[in-house]
Symmetry: C2
């Protein structure tokens, strides 16, 4: 049994190796062309960084399925299961482009000023350009997926999952907004919202290689299930980090979810255990809240067992997600998918 | 030779017959489901009306290609050119859904309050919901196209044209915005912008039946060219109407393009003939402009020959677009495509 630190170091190295390749591919798939301002705005967040966790899941799932030594096979000409090749990197970039489109539009909706340490696109440019940049990335994701070169039947399936994933993300975001005005959200409702808002894109990333390579449906389903489980765990852990990581490290005010009345698994649990969530902090403006207020609120939530409950739920989801990978051949890439799952709920920020 | 009035009555009847069927299909393809508020906002503009010109072009092109009596063949099980059937109505709804998504986001960008006589979606709901409603329609258009049941090769081509069309619409909208701050836009630049912003969706509507039914590439290309030509003519005529139709009939302030410094073929022509466009009206606020100011401005533009130039350019484009239809069999549906082309530049609003 390795230590959490050693595990994290290993997974970060593997993620970093793939991130470099993804970062090279992004300008190839999405060159700055006329009208330049539109494409610069579209690339702005993609170029600002990001861990590339979803592309990593996609590329690792491809390697696990093909049962090849990790990083030994060119992603641009990746062997499918029937003699042809697939541009797996295009699929990975497509998923990251969808993620970037949702971040640009989400930041407008939440009127968030900062993202990845840089101004949000609607602040760096303007509202019009940010809406259009998101819309451009949306169709570009489909265009890029169309460049994978998969056979037509598989391509139709891949585009189908991409379209359904985008619809579900919108539905999840809509539920998230509507929850802010409710005080009776259940654990089931929260998990449904998180599945749609966050987990479906992990699920798409995990199962797309199986679709594009022509794997059996049970393999596609298992990988989709893995993504749904670890994607929900990722979001739950994000909600815990919002309360427990210092503001400097978080890159935004700690406890902002509480201040803005965002529903999280923690608040849903606490409320059902008698905690008056709305009275935990006095303000609804993140600029007015004090660290002491957040400390007191976190103490109440810990006392109610709500943070433990969130951590336990995330761990259960990750363990279930990992079990689903038993359909894959035993190899280093499968191990990486295990490690990524653990990392999603062990990462410090 | 029939009179313009008789021609307009004939085309409006044919458009109206198809509109009824499209209006029935929209709630079938896009039912109000959970989260209801999101889907209600997504359907809001679609339900508020619209002529359904693009779906009409699509359905008429399908009938012309199949060489069947108009309205005699069920659109939901439309014969392709190789023994199978295609749900042509799904394709027609998909194109209208794209149009609706662009209107919702355009109204946010232009901060327009009214659309089709009802409040814009971001006014009837809110900014967040309007962005999300547009995003939902975006992916739904792909989902609906995937329900046409065309064979996989044709489906991939159809989704490819849909994605590229959406990208071009964003590019055109971005050019349109950037032109507002320039005083040296050329006729060629204007026509390129209008091709991307407006005409590509007509082009997609016209050629999608050929793609889905398995027609030869030269037929696909000819129909695409027809759509590009008549779509640009449609936008040029729209620009003329903005100056010449009374505000009550237009549903918004006459001359608003001039006030807001929108580039049109008319202003581009006038400027190149020595007219100082920026000084034609004193205000940049449509609420402050007087009818007399607009009358004077229109007189100057008429004197410069700019309105005639726009009308002539639109007529040339329509004539060229109609010529392209010679690849189609001679039948009533082809005649309808001719009539729609004429209608696009003869309509009074």
């Amino acid at each position: 049994m390795t230590s959490p630190e050693a595990r994290e170091a290993a997974v970060l190295e593997a993620v970093g190796e793939r991130r470099e390749l993804v970062n090279e591919a992004i300008p190839e798939e999405l060159p700055i062309r006329r009208p330049e301002r539109l494409y610069e705005a579209s690339r702005y967040l993609l170029d600002a960084g990001g861990k590339r966790l979803r592309p990593t899941v996609l590329l690792a799932a491809a390697e696990a399925l093909a049962d090849v030594e990790t990083l030994s096979t060119p992603y641009r000409e990746f062997p499918s299961l029937n003699d042809s090749t697939v541009d797996m990197m295009a699929a990975a970039v497509s998923v990251e482009v969808i993620q970037s489109f949702t971040l640009i539009h989400d930041d407008i909706m939440d009127d968030d000023d900062l993202r990845r340490g840089v101004p949000a696109v609607h602040k760096a440019y303007d509202l019009e350009t940010a809406i259009l940049a998101g819309d451009t990335l949306y169709s570009k994701a489909f265009e890029i997926m169309l460049e994978t070169g998969a056979d037509h039947e598989r391509m139709v399936q891949a585009l189908d999952i991409l379209a359904r994933t985008c619809t579900k993300i919108c539905e999840g975001q809509s539920l998230d907004v509507s929850f802010e005005e409710r005080d009776d959200v259940t654990t089931e409702e929260y998990l449904e919202m998180v599945e749609q808002k966050t987990a479906v894109l992990y699920a798409a990333a995990a199962c797309l290689p199986a679709i594009l390579m022509g794997a059996d449906q049970d393999v596609v389903d298992a990988l989709y299930g893995y993504g749904l489980d670890v994607g929900r765990a990722f979001q739950i852990h994000d909600d815990v980090l919002d309360l427990t990581v210092p503001s400097e490290k978080l890159g935004k005010q700690r406890g902002s979810d509480l201040v803005e009345h965002k529903q999280t698994l923690i608040t849903v649990h606490a409320r059902s255990h008698g905690v008056d969530i709305e009275s935990l902090v006095d303000t609804t403006d993140v600029d007015d809240v004090t660290e002491a207020e957040i400390d007191d609120a976190v103490a109440v939530l810990e006392e109610a067992g709500s943070i433990d409950f969130a951590n336990e739920t995330a761990r259960e989801l990750v363990d279930r997600g990992k079990e689903r990978l038993e359909v894959l051949p035993e190899n280093d890439a499968r191990t990486l998918l295990f490690q990524v799952a653990d990392y999603l709920i062990e990462r410090g920020y």
